[in-house]
Symmetry: C2
Subunit: 451 residues, 2 copies
């Protein structure tokens, strides 16, 4: 038979079991945290009608999308979870209760040029809250709490949720009579971290056609920093000159007002006037999240408030607020930076039960008893030498081996070997279960370990 060389396509993540175990932990934390805030799990097809996915059009999307014919159908793979959500809400509008809160942790597809750390298939972990016509600002205020819980759940402390409001920016540029140029200006200002204020000023004047006074005024505005109270106080100085600005400031105050009640420490939250989120889509609060020790990663959780989720599919205005975590890229970067906790058990089982007699019955019953105590147990039935069995346990990384020979069976006990320390104890099945569970509990650290 001809052999075809196996390979996985480039740009597609495929993890070995120990790494996958870490990824599964992160997904479980995401699911639990999102669910704890009352978001419903949602699952939509990977394949949709291409016309529907591409309703908005736009250059990059059209180029990157996986689109193909099957029979007479013009099909495409989803490139994000927002467009399928818009379709879903438009389609099931009458059956949903609004505000409609959903989370979705699913794969999306973008045929980008392959490069290190860029994926063509990747998970997004999204939440959105969709209102029917209106949506209270409290929803926007709640988002930082959810971001905070997710990253604390991963084990991180040194991260910052950076928040701004598009109405403040739009209002500010309107005050300066620069609304028409605001898109170009925001794209330029967005480069501040990378190229510095001097170069931003040059581009604002040369490319955007601003006067030096205007450029200075903008740089002064985005240079407003300090505690949240200080930034808000500085913004008050601009109030009363533009309605949109004032509305944005009121929203920003509402979002920051209840951080303590939501349990978000000030250290993990900052009003940051440089955050714009390029898309026209956003109309209110916008969010980015950075790891303080790894600013080079960029934002690991972004999103914002929008006014019209599903305008391509339905007349009704559906405002919402949502955030997205690019989970595959986040995982890749965390792994590359060595931030995944190597101490966490990565084996598929907590205990490997090794029958040492010809008759496997007692080992089977023991394995079942340990399982019913909540232990993940693999029964090892291969006819190998003891040394080979131990080598297997070590390669698997299983923390405990449980040996059951004639002696143990006669005594109603089993021998529990701690594979890390080498300690071996003869215990009853109930004692063995308690011993293993205690070891597992002690070994239950965070997924991400800050250095």
């Amino acid at each position: 038979m001809d052999i075809i060389k196996p390979r996985t396509l480039s740009g597609f993540m495929e993890l070995l079991p120990a790494k996958q175990a870490q990824m599964e932990r992160m997904m479980e934390i995401l699911r639990k945290t999102y669910a704890s805030y009352g978001f419903a799990a949602l699952d939509t097809p990977v394949i949709e009608d291409a016309q529907i996915l591409l309703a908005k059009g736009g250059g990059e999307t059209e180029k990157q999308i996986y689109r193909f014919q099957k029979g007479d159908s013009d099909l495409a793979l989803r490139f994000d979870l927002t467009v399928p959500l818009a379709k879903y809400v438009a389609l099931h509008c009458n059956e949903l209760a609004f505000p409609f809160r959903r989370y979705q942790i699913s794969k999306v597809y973008r045929g980008e040029r392959a490069q290190r750390g860029r994926f063509r298939e990747f998970y997004q972990a999204d939440i959105d809250i969709i209102g029917d016509g209106k949506l209270d600002i409290l929803n926007e205020a709640e988002i930082p709490a959810i971001i905070y819980k997710v990253f604390r759940g991963f084990g991180l402390e040194r991260f910052q949720i950076r928040v701004n409001n598009r109405k403040i920016l739009n209002g500010f540029y309107a005050m300066m009579e620069l609304s028409e140029k605001s898109g170009d200006i925001m794209r330029t200002v967005d480069k501040l971290d990378k190229i510095g204020a001097e170069k931003v000023k040059v581009i604002l004047m040369d490319d955007c056609g601003l006067s030096e006074t205007q450029a200075d005024e903008i740089l002064k505005f985005i240079a407003i920093t300090g505690t949240n109270a200080e930034v808000l106080a500085a913004l008050e100085g601009y109030a009363g000159r533009n309605e949109i600005f004032d509305l944005g400031l009121a929203e920003l105050k509402a979002v920051t007002a209840n951080l303590a009640a939501f349990g978000v420490p000030e250290a993990n939250f900052a009003v940051d006037l440089t955050i714009a989120r390029g898309l026209d889509y956003y109309t209110g609060t916008v969010y980015e999240t950075t790891l303080l020790d790894h600013p080079e990663i960029g934002s690991v959780c972004s999103g914002g408030r929008y006014d019209n989720l599903a305008g391509y599919y339905i007349e009704k205005a559906l405002p919402g607020v949502g955030i997205s975590i690019g989970l595959t890229r986040l995982f890749y970067v965390l792994d590359e930076q060595g931030l995944l906790n190597p101490e966490l058990p990565s084996a598929p089982a907590d205990a490997l039960v090794l029958p040492m007699t010809a008759e496997p019955g007692p080992a089977i019953a023991l394995a079942e008893e340990l399982r019913s105590a909540g232990i993940r147990v693999q029964l090892y039935g291969e006819q190998k030498k003891f040394k080979q069995k131990m080598a297997y346990a070590n390669k698997l990384g299983v923390p405990y081996a449980v040996l059951l020979g004639e002696d143990e069976i006669a005594e109603g006990k089993c021998s529990v070997k701690n594979m890390t320390t080498g300690e071996q104890l003869k215990l009853t099945p109930a004692e063995a279960a308690a011993h293993i569970l205690a070891g597992m509990a002690a070994n239950n650290g965070p997924v991400i370990l800050e250095k």
Copy 2:
């Protein structure tokens, strides 16, 4: 703006939130059960190189597969989880510990003609145990225990795991010098349930060219029924005439010998000589699982032992045993039959916290306190009339509403309303958490409710 009518492609399941909640429960039971037997979670790409997916070729697969070009690449969507597993094991062979046990619950794609209850995108929930050259029979014996735990986990009692061994069938047809015709014979015998013994006999004689004696001998063989002990005893009567048969009988005995130790009641397990599993792929134990009250559904969990997982990709022989649950179809059928437990909470939150004051701070803090007790809480901030808030709570199906007005805040309490009974209690936050958790625990029935 032009409106594009939203739709979901036919053959693609997209559930409303309450139904999705049931599906999520089933997935969690599958993940936990598979993990408890020491299977590692695996995730492989949806898109693979088409040449690799189609290495085996074969008519139906080639017709149904979603295959397309992107740039110079010939791509396809996986049509099962076994071929990607074969690729994965061949590719990562040196990094894996064997036996390698993995589970995967993922979507697969088949462009079948759309018809009721047939899906083009559907979940499979698979486990496989792969050996490196050898694999002990104990692994085949363990599979019924896992199937049993999964379906009991779903809440079912009235199901039967039906087991046979391909070596017994192959050995039997070899004894009868009918090996060459065994494929045709097994396909005919497989129709026994549908068309009856008389018609099977006619086809065996007319189409397969068997003598009446041969046909009678086959019908006599597959008519062997009774308790497992009775069937095994009857099979002993054929022993000693063919090596393959004897080996199969020894395997079947080993698989049935430890059922009690594995915790599988005899009522849920039957040796059934009519089970053949059409594929040439299987070489030993084969499994099917039927719901006793719904035989029309067919097998809801099937699989078996094979000798060569990845022969298309690697020279090394990788034997294994695996089973697959067609989860999307199972869910569809259970729902259609009205077997999904309607009593289970289907709301995305256990409690809806309603601030009744202008200042949301106390309600936010209360919601966070309930969440940290393990309750899924939605905070409702919309400015609506009380009646509308209650209508929302009812539409969402949330079991508890928690009201927080001036009076409650002054007393350090909150009003917890049971949305089913209408009972309303004024409780401290800690009492409220305990009250809601107790209600949730009482409301935690099985996913599937037998009638």
